[in-house]
Subunit: 303 residues, 2 copies
Amino acid sequence: MAAHSTPGKYSVGLVQMTMSADPDANLRHAIAKVAEAAAAGAKVVCLPELFRSRYFAQTEDARVFDLAEPVPGPSTDALGKAAKQAGVVVIAPVFERRAPGLYHNSAATIDVDGRVAGVYRKMHIPDDPAYYEKYYFAPGDLGFRAFDTGVGRIGTLVCWDQWYPEGARLTALQGANILFYPTAIGWHPKEKAAHGAEQLDAWRTIQRGHAIANGCYVAAVNRVGHETPAGGNGDGIEFWGSSFLADPFGAILAEAPADREAIVVAEVDLARIEEVRRGWPFLRDRRIDAYGGITSRFLDDRS
Amino acid sequence: MAAHSTPGKYSVGLVQMTMSADPDANLRHAIAKVAEAAAAGAKVVCLPELFRSRYFAQTEDARVFDLAEPVPGPSTDALGKAAKQAGVVVIAPVFERRAPGLYHNSAATIDVDGRVAGVYRKMHIPDDPAYYEKYYFAPGDLGFRAFDTGVGRIGTLVCWDQWYPEGARLTALQGANILFYPTAIGWHPKEKAAHGAEQLDAWRTIQRGHAIANGCYVAAVNRVGHETPAGGNGDGIEFWGSSFLADPFGAILAEAPADREAIVVAEVDLARIEEVRRGWPFLRDRRIDAYGGITSRFLDDRS
């Protein structure tokens, strides 16, 4: 899209969904939500991570790979039609099948014309109890990315990426005005009483920090609902919703509840990015001559 | 210090001070505060940025360079004695004179034996209205640093550094269990009503974010009080105090008020670092193969 055609202000629509056991029903549900968000004024609509299914990484099961699909593929085709019809950008997370035995946790950015403008493959892959993603997903090999769309330049990352300032920085340095984080995060029911509030607060805080550090908007888009793993083993995960949009100063402009579906519609104002970055010009003073150690695992060679 | 001699838990003392126009009085005041913090149980005491003077960078005046001193020098000698006497580590910010015409905004880490264990020179130098630091300070050339002390390995950064995730990361990767940020930040009185709350919140949030991203403690140590510039021009700066200690999950363990002197004494527990990092093992999954762009000013070469 040519720069002159992009708006100075636009609304985003963050679709906080529950997922059923039926992938086709989830797709229909997502398409309806895209239309609903567009009707509410959103010009870019983001769906949650892996929205076509329940969060299958609670267990390791090879049959789950049947759910994967190529990009472009059925999900991006259907959402491309929805995007074009509504005249909105859609960020569509996909369980991507790249080759037999090679899968990614991806997010496709679909432009207002319905075409895939770019694909991001989740770079940081978690593995901890009930989030066995290293079994399912190869780490992304496309790097951190931003894409030009009908609403200007936007960046996509996925879930676990949200804990890494490097990912936010590298996407913002590509000129992204907003970072979208489709997500699937929640409470282990047994931990919720003791640690739930601080976990949610840490999740919100670090993403607000990315907005502040980079002077850009940050949108987190989570699923919601209590999902128990296939087979009924375990307590499952209570996904905590709480999708939000933070402004370039880290202020939360709008936030969804923790316990039910919602569409967060809130405004991005590119002039606000300029204002905040002029006031506290962090990008000017980065010590790029001294950051080389970032590419080390740990700096424990004290020789 | 040998690793086996360091405690698993220790208290920090964060000295939130007001500064008078008399550098010697400020030094005596700081020494008294070190003793006071030690008496309250602190094993490492941090003073605010440039604690020997009012915040002179509100204006550009070559006579101010008379305040600079070498490291080691009078301030570190006096505080070294105080450190040794109290048996504490002291983090002593110094307006460092390195050579005629070459000055740094530094922080000396003084060990429990009274000797300077290491010096950090502020890497990110601000320049915005009433914070004309680029006039006074050459950017640090020692890189980001952590030092072994009687309380184990600790890192120091200074003020404007606090807005840069890279600085926090590079210090934490050297094994620092806690990052100290001596600081001088406040409100422009005319902005306070409209923006004061969000500015303070952004400052607190991004530093809590560093704690979360790195699974380490973060201590911010600010001055307090309304200082008007020499000559009486301008409204001055109302330094907002609010010094705090955040734990490795970003939770604020203790915080000073915004409007008066205080010593924050709160506990660092190394087992908590281990616990938090095991729970959310961010360091394991860093994509060090893909972070090279961090050393670019901006990633606008789209060829």
